[in-house]
Each structure stands twice: as structure tokens, then as C-alpha cells.
């Protein structure tokens, strides 16, 4: 591990899904969903993983949770100040103690809560399966957790169907916090919510991070939300990280043409800023059949011959990590930070 502050260090993570065809289900190819991904997360830090559908951000997060078994690479997680384990190779039996420390918040607040269990049972389940057998002790803790996510304790005996999407998401957060985890993987936690409720959950996540010193791996496609929660942002394209930088840097001074295009495509809620957008041509490349060289080159307006042949490696440029052959010479535009109305 790089520094004692680092809680998670992902190194060279790969996840290939075989493509099978025919009666005998012969393997005819591979989808390289995650292809050589590396990053770190510090204690108390939020790293956002952003990109468009199929870029591998969700698969990456599932690997860290070991809901998916990685093909290659190391996922080093610091369990206490002196020790770290490689989640990628841990046998199933030894995963359980680790589960206490890495928890998840789901995208869909409707399917993530068992409709047949009361709120007390849902939030109490992690306690129960991890050895808190006294009902009274569980209910006390559930009460504290409900306070933490700002839901009235009186709701304890209700069933999920009585709650709105935002309230359900709070319940999901309370469940994730029950075992005092250090890292939370949040997979699009606000994208299924109404706009006026998103803000509540974003603020809650920021508050909880400050109070409990949590680290977040925040998986999202919405760059506006990402800007409000992240310390650092990693941009993925077709299974690879193309750029990692601090939030301010990546939004104001992107170094990768894909990041620039992504930022440019986000509609800004201000009609006076109807700028000329960079509209990318074509479609996201197929991870089963990625183009040679830089996967982004067929859509990149700065592409040169070298981009078609040679895969760019992540390299440090002005404090950003960028995988682009032309990152030093291009002056790309980001979005300006300005207090809007």
C-alpha cells in the first residue's frame, strides 16, 4: 500500500466475461469489461468512478465487493492500521469478516429492500447475521441508525411499501452503516430518485462521511452529482481508466479528450450558458471488440496516427493521471465554476 492513509488500493484489476456460443457453449471471445484498472482511495475520501453505460464502472465496483470474481489483479483493502488483505484472492469463507468493513448502497431503492421485512428487520439483519443475537440490542442500534439517517424511530415497524424512494434510500444507507464499515461502495445511489430528493441524499452522504470518517467509492454517470460528492474522479472508457484527478482539476482542466467531451455534453441548468457543445460522433466502442490503440480514437477529434496503434498508459501530467498520447500538448476546456443563481 502506498500510504498509511490509503484504505483501498486496486492494482491491475481485470474482469473478462467469456462469450459462449452454440450447443456446447464454446468460448468464442471475451468481453473485457474491466481491463487493467488501478486506483486508490484514502480514508475519509470519495473517489467517483464515472463513465457511460458499458464502461466497466459497475463491474469494477462489484469486484471490490467480491460480488463478481475478478479475472486478475489485486484489491488490497486495509482492515486495520497494520494489516491489509487482497480481496481479489480471498477464499469465500474468509470474506465474511471483510463484509463488515465494505458495504454497499444500491441504485434502486425499491428492489434493494425486502418487501416482506419490517424496517427494523432490514436494518437489523446485518447485526443479526454478524452475531448480535439480542433483539433488544438490535432494536437499540436500529434506533440509533434511524437517527443517523434522519428517519423517525417510530417507523421501525413499518414495511418498505409505506416509504417514498428517498426514505427507502435512507433505510438502505442505515443498513449499510449498521456494522460500522470503513468503505462504502455506492452504485448510482441517487439516479433513481426525484430531483428534489437527490439533494437530500447527497447532503446526507456528505454529512455521514464527515461524522463517521467513511470512504466512498461513488459509481455514477451524472457528472453534476459527482461534482457535489467527490474529492477525486476517475473517468472510465471501455474498461479502462482514461483520467484520474481531483474534482476541481478534472472539471476545470480536463486532460483527456473523452473527459472534455463528457463535460461538454452535460446540459447546464442555465439558459445563458448555451455553449457550443462538442458532440461526439458515433457510438461507444464494443468492449468485446475494442479498437486497437486508444479505444477512444475513432471518436476523438484530436486523434493522430499513434493513437490508432499504441495503447496510451496512465501518466502524470500537471497532477492528473491521464492515458492520452497528446495530453501534454492539448489545451482542453472544462466547465467554469461559478455560483449559479
Amino acid at each position: 500500500m502506498t500510504s498509511p492513509q490509503t484504505i483501498l488500493s486496486v492494482e491491475g484489476l481485470k474482469k473478462y466475461f467469456p462469450i459462449r456460443r452454440g450447443l456446447l457453449r464454446k468460448v468464442v471471445g471475451e468481453v473485457k469489461a474491466v481491463d487493467d484498472v488501478s486506483f486508490t482511495i484514502d480514508r475519509g475520501e470519495t473517489l467517483s468512478l464515472v463513465g457511460e453505460s458499458g464502461c466497466g464502472k459497475t463491474t469494477t465496483s462489484r469486484c471490490i465487493l467480491r460480488a463478481v470474481h475478478p479475472t486478475a489483479g489485486a484489491i488490497r483493502f486495509r482492515t486495520d492500521p497494520t494489516r491489509n488483505v487482497d480481496v481479489a484472492v480471498l477464499p469465500r469463507a474468509e470474506l465474511r469478516p471483510l463484509r463488515r468493513q465494505i458495504q454497499m448502497i444500491f441504485q434502486d431503492p425499491y428492489s434493494s429492500l425486502n418487501p416482506r421485512m419490517t424496517i427494523a428487520d432490514i436494518i437489523g439483519e446485518p447485526l443479526l447475521v454478524n452475531g448480535v443475537s439480542s433483539l433488544a440490542a438490535r432494536r437499540t442500534r436500529v434506533g440509533e441508525l434511524l437517527d443517523l439517517v434522519q428517519l423517525p424511530r417510530a417507523y421501525m415497524n413499518r414495511f418498505p411499501h409505506a416509504f417514498s424512494g428517498g426514505q427507502r434510500q435512507r433505510i438502505g444507507i442505515a443498513r449499510a452503516l449498521a456494522l460500522n464499515p470503513t468503505l462504502i461502495v455506492a452504485d448510482e445511489p441517487v439516479s433513481a430518485l426525484d430531483v428534489s430528493v437527490q439533494a437530500q441524499i447527497i447532503n446526507l452522504m456528505l454529512d455521514l462521511q464527515e461524522r463517521l470518517g467513511l470512504s466512498y467509492l461513488f459509481v455514477a454517470h451524472d457528472l453534476s452529482v459527482v461534482k457535489h460528492v467527490s474529492h477525486r474522479v476517475a473517468v472510465m472508457y471501455v474498461g479502462r481508466i482514461v483520467e484520474v484527478a481531483s474534482t476541481a482539476t478534472i472539471f476545470h482542466r480536463p486532460k483527456h479528450p473523452y473527459t472534455e467531451a463528457l463535460l461538454s455534453a452535460v446540459p447546464t441548468p442555465d439558459p445563458r450558458r448555451r455553449a457550443k457543445r462538442i458532440v461526439l460522433e458515433g457510438e461507444v466502442a464494443d468492449p468485446a471488440n475494442a479498437p486497437p490503440g486508444c479505444a477512444f480514437h475513432p471518436r476523438c477529434r484530436y486523434a493522430i496516427e499513434r493513437c490508432r496503434q499504441e495503447l496510451p498508459r496512465l501518466a502524470t501530467v500537471d497532477g492528473s493521471l491521464v492515458a492520452c498520447h497528446r495530453s501534454t500538448e492539448l489545451g482542453l476546456t472544462g466547465v467554469a465554476s461559478a455560483a449559479h443563481a
Binding site: M104, F106, L113, R116, N203, D207
Partner: protein, 376 residues
Amino acid sequence: MSELAQSVPLVTAAEEKVAAATQLQLTWWRFRRHRLALASGVVVILFYLVVVFADFLAISPPHSTNAARSFIPPQKIHLFDSDGGFRPHVYALKGQRDLRTFKLIYAPDPSDKRYLVWFTEGYAYKLLGLFDTRLHVLGIDRGTPEDALFLLGTDQLGRDVWSRLMLATRTSLTIGLVGVTLSLFLGVLLGGISGLYGGMIDTVIQRVIEILRSIPTIPLWMGLAAALPADWSSAQVYMAITLIISLIGWTELARVVRGRFLALREEDFITAAELLGASRMRIIFRHMVPSFLSHIIAAISLALPAMIISETTLSFLGLGLRPPAISWGVLLQDAQNIQALGQAPWLLFVAVPVIAVILAFNFLGDGLRDAADPYG
């Protein structure tokens, strides 16, 4: 941080009731609105009461034959006595030789009234298979009912159709129940394994199901039923027929269970439970099984009529239960030839409860399914 969440208060008593309602309660509330299903549920319950109290509801010993009483039509029940008082009675039958054909013809004899008596003694039987009793719901004040009371007429051997119908209901409906229990066991077990483990096991089980379902049922049953030794007792044949019927029945349930397992495996709350460190057993029995229990109940209520029909078909074709066993199919077999039907159309009455119970089960099953899964 303070302005959050303590939102719009919603605590009227009614809302709190809904908020704390279990899925079972919600299902019941939805089911209750489904009038036809509710009525069908009552019909099904009534039928199963007949199963429990078949002998009590029967009037005459179902096997007592009397050649002299062959093909007697259903009797008319007279409600009022000649003095105008309410005393339900039937006319006893008097045999007369038709002088031209020399056939013995039974005609009601208005001078010989037999009054109906409730809760009276009749033939001996064991109530619920446990208590010796002679109590029956209906009898007559003089003579034995097998000689004088024929609510639905008699068959060729002079047996009381009403009484036989009661006992046939017991056989046919329990065969359905036992068959479904067996199918359920097989279906849940194999469907569960198939859905839970997937892969090779799943493929094998699915192919077996497809093969079983592709065999035309009637020839299959005929083959299997023909293989039953002729000297088996009724009880043995009964068990064997049940097994044969459930052989096909389980496949449908297995598909339902497998489908639910596959769908549930993708649900976030199952993933959540896994990530919390819940054991496999806990995930199956605390999260998955309760989620599809209602589907199973609905599937059962749709599988039962299929079982009943299967038994009836088999027995009707003479391949299932054989006399002296009594079932709906066996009774319908009596109505098989045109001659018997022409002479005694009341033998067809057996079809009425068959149709009623099948329809009731189907409506009930539909209602249960809708209530259990309003979106699917």
C-alpha cells in the same frame, strides 16, 4: 441537516395500519376485492367439507346393490303434507309388473309416505376414519333409506347415486391433494436446485422437464396404468394413480419455482443480504422462499384442478381407479354408454360437481395470483 426528512407527517390510524401491514395482509386485502375468487374460495371450502364428512352426508351404503331398484329416477321431495303442514316427505316406491313387457316398473305410491328425518341413524362408518358412528345428515322415518330414498336416483345396480357421489368427491379431491403435495415436493426441490445452482444441473433438469412435457399424456398414462398389476388392491391402485398423475404435475411447479429463484437472484435485496454476510440458508429461507410462497399457493390452486381432471379422465377411460373404488371418473364411466344414458340421464349429474370444482379452483387461483403479484 435539520430541515431534512422529518417530512410531511402521515399518521392517521388507517395509514399506520397500511404502513405496518405485512405482505400477507396486503395480499388478503387485494384478494378480498376479487369477488369471483372469493366466492370460488367458499365453493372450494364447501367441497372439502364434503371430503371430510362424505359418509355423514351419504344416505345409503354406497356399495349396497339391489337389482330390483335398478335405474330409479331422482325422487320428487314433497314439502307439505296433505294437511298443509311443513313435513318434507317422499313417496315410497311400489313395484308393478308391466303386463305387456313383463318389466318390473317402480312407481311412487302416494299412499305410502316416508318422512325425511334430519340427523338420524344409518349405516355404520368411521367419522374422520376415527370414531365409530351411525349418524347421517338425512334419513327416513320408516324403513331403510337404501330402499326408499333416492335423491339423485340409482344406477344400474340399484345403488344410490347421491351417496356414491359424496364418496366419489372424497376420493377425487383427495387424489388431487395428495398428487399436488407430491408434485409440490418434487417441483420445489428440483425447481429450487435448478434455479439456485444453475449451470449443468439446471440444464439437465430443464431437459428432463421438457421431455416429460413433450410425451402425450394420455398414452403415457395408459401405458403406466396398464402396467399396474391387476391383482392390486384399491388402495394400491389409488397410490399408483396418484404417483402417475404427479409425474407430469411437478414439472409446471418446478418451472414456477425455478423462474422465481432466477428472478430473485437478480434482486438487489438478495445481493444486499449476501454482502451483509448472511448465510446461504438464511438467504433462501428468510428472503427467497417467503417472496415466492404466494406464487406457489397460486400455482397449487391452478394445479389441483388439472390433477382432478387427470384422475377423472383416467378413471373414465377405465385406466385409473376401478370399481369397487368410487371416484368421479368411475361414476362417469357408468354414464359411458348411450343405452344407460338414454334410460338414466341422471347418471350424468356427476359432471356438475366436476365442472363446479374445476371452475372454482381456476377462479380462486387467478384471484390469488393477482393478489399476490399485482404487477406481474
